[in-house]
Amino acid sequence: MTHHESEHEAVAAAPIGPGRIALWVIAAGLAALFITLRLNLSAGIDVTRWLVLIPLMPAVACLINGVFVNKLPKPLVTALAVGSVGVSFFISVILFIHLKITGEPIQQVMYSWMAAGDFSVNVSFTLDGLSGLMALVVTGVGWLIHIYSIGYMAHDESYSRYFTYLNLFTFSMLVLVLGDSLPLMFVGWEGVGLCSYLLIGFWFTDNEKATAGKKAFIVNRIGDMGFVIAMLLLFWIVGALDYTTLAAQAKTVSPMWATVICLLLFFGATGKSAQIPLYVWLPDAMAGPTPVSALIHAATMVTAGVYMIARLSFLFVLAPSAMMTVAIVGALTALFAATIGLFQYDIKKVLAYSTVSQLGFMFLGVGVGAFAAGIFHLMTHAFFKACLFLGSGSVIHGMHGEQDIRKMGGLDKLMPITSKTFFVACLAIAGIPPLAAFFSKDEILYKTFAVHYGAPSWLGAALWLTGALAAACTSFYMFRLYYLTFSGESRAPEEIKKKGIHESPYTMTIPLIVLAFLAIVGGWVGMPHIFHALPNYFEHNLEETLSVANNAVGVVHGSAMLEWGLMLISTAIALGGWIVARALYKDARSDVPARMKEKFAGIHKVIFNKYYVDEGYFYAFIRPTLNLGLFLWGFVDTYLVDGVLVKVSAWLVRSAGMGLRLVQTGNVQTYLLAFLVGAAALLAYLWQGTSL
């Protein structure tokens, strides 16, 4: 305990930490911003021209920190990186308010990016209900995670490199959501993929972590192929790639091509958003720093696929069978990943599978035509999952790098703030009313049951059942995780105890508190109508963007009874999962888990090993590819290229040289003979037409 206190004193005694300076800089920046805004508004200056600043701020910070990597003082690095995202966030807020007041989407054309014939793409940004919301989530949650990173990465020697990558990611993600054409979205799409790779392999000296980065990159490329092909097909059929033209001319796409394009786009989304079959990279991606897991692999990047489908909803509604595929894959992923999450012992792996599962819910939502519900869940998920990840980061930080929950326990006394925020987030993700996921997940499940666009009603019911099962699993494994980590007696090894398990600094706890607060209230903006408490701001916000899709799906006239009933079932499921987990894992007293594990050892082994999907991929794809490579190297390269092409041509030249060197006899008369032959040939050529 003395250890623990002395460290706290050391933190407090430090003259002025980078975090504190950063906070002051942010505060000053914000004050300046608000003053400017007030002046500008009164002077009648057009704030819509600030739209480009949202992605530009992190880009500039990234450039400065990247060029002067490890050269700038740490406080300056922090101020640039964190401040720029903060400014972006406040500009987003201002513009979003502007959008709500005027009701006009903000569009800003920067310059003509490429023009070939009658095809042209502008670099232009647009902020409507959907992209504005996404920008708010990205900059808001992103800003909190930036602040959190100040504390989490404080002792890392690659501090400025970390923030360079993080800013680059924020820039790419903002380009992805704000860009108003598919090519621009693709730029962001690839940019976030690159940053994901860079940050997963951030500690690249560890071979396993570098490998995880490569895995993420390669799996994402497989999905991106689908995205690119879909984009080319769209260009081929429609002739333009900006959303406005696409939406206006979507009707000209035949149903068959619409289905092909949507399936290809969804294949791209399965890579980026970690759905079956390309989800395998996300659990491995936990090798990166925990704030990165929170920002990229939970809150923002992995939701890009959901955003893309919502953005192109006018296209997806033309292909009901493609949407049915999306819904089925989403539901299956939700259940599949949730069952894996039941038995994991790595705190981050549990959260990773939880993320895959929750992304499945989002795809289930957009797949059944509940686009607004999918995006709603995206937003609430960003809050509570970021809170959970940051909480786990706080735990790992406090436990000096330990991630195995079997070695934790009893942390609620040592880390009170982390424990409480984590519990709130657990309640939220489990779907306990009136927290965030209760509204968003319930909305998805209700729409699955009632709407199921493009799917027969029995399938809707089956999907609902799958989703409900996944929700039960979610509730169970989240509370299992919570109780194993925080309740009971500490099971930490002696050497960790000796170092002192401590609560994290305030730069880490403040974002936790903010996110926990958002996890509680975040769902209130999208309350169902039957509550008659608050209007459904959320759906209203997306109405214009999703109008085409909503018209196609049609208005749902489900009975209030059905909605209440399903809601009650959801709540019961969530509570049930909680109660069972509490009984089994609270204070680690029950021996039921161990006995169950023994009884169902076979099933447990299969699920614990993640259904052997990675191994299956290894034998199905990776080993054949390796063997092909070995064949190309061992046979084609060694014998055909080296053997035939290289060696034979070399031998030809060599033997020709050997033969020709015999000509150099040193005998003048032999040379003269050659001269004579040449002269004869020349004369024969010159006089070939003359008589004889």
Partner: protein
Amino acid sequence: MDAIIFWPFALLALLGAVLLIFHKNPIHSALALIMTLFSTAALFVMLHAGFVAVLQILVYAGAIMVLFIFVIMMLNLQREELGLRRHAAKKIVATVLALGIGLKFALVLTAQLLPRAELAASFGSVENVGMMVFNDYMLPFQAIGVLLLSAVIGAVVVAKTRF
């Protein structure tokens, strides 16, 4: 009239050439060449080239060939072995090619009768040739003087044993 002068000298020239290339003794070869040069000089006269004919005898047959004979005697060269015993293929190919080229030349040059220009009495005189050399070809003449000088110096340098 022409035929009586032409044929003996032409045949003598050819005979000298044949002897030159097929005689084992270098001295005899040199003497055969001198015979050819004399015969050619006579043919020059037939073609109204009196000055050149005189030069041929004085310079070629007189100076240059004397130099050859002098060197041959100084080196005391032995008789050379002739025949096809060594490099037979090369020799045959060379001979056939040379004869082929010669035949082709001969055929081309005799394809039509060459006209003979009306020549003035002074054609080919020392005065005419001299006027041409010293007027129209002054620069080549001087260049050839420099060439001769450098040849003399070069010959001395190459043949000298020590400086």
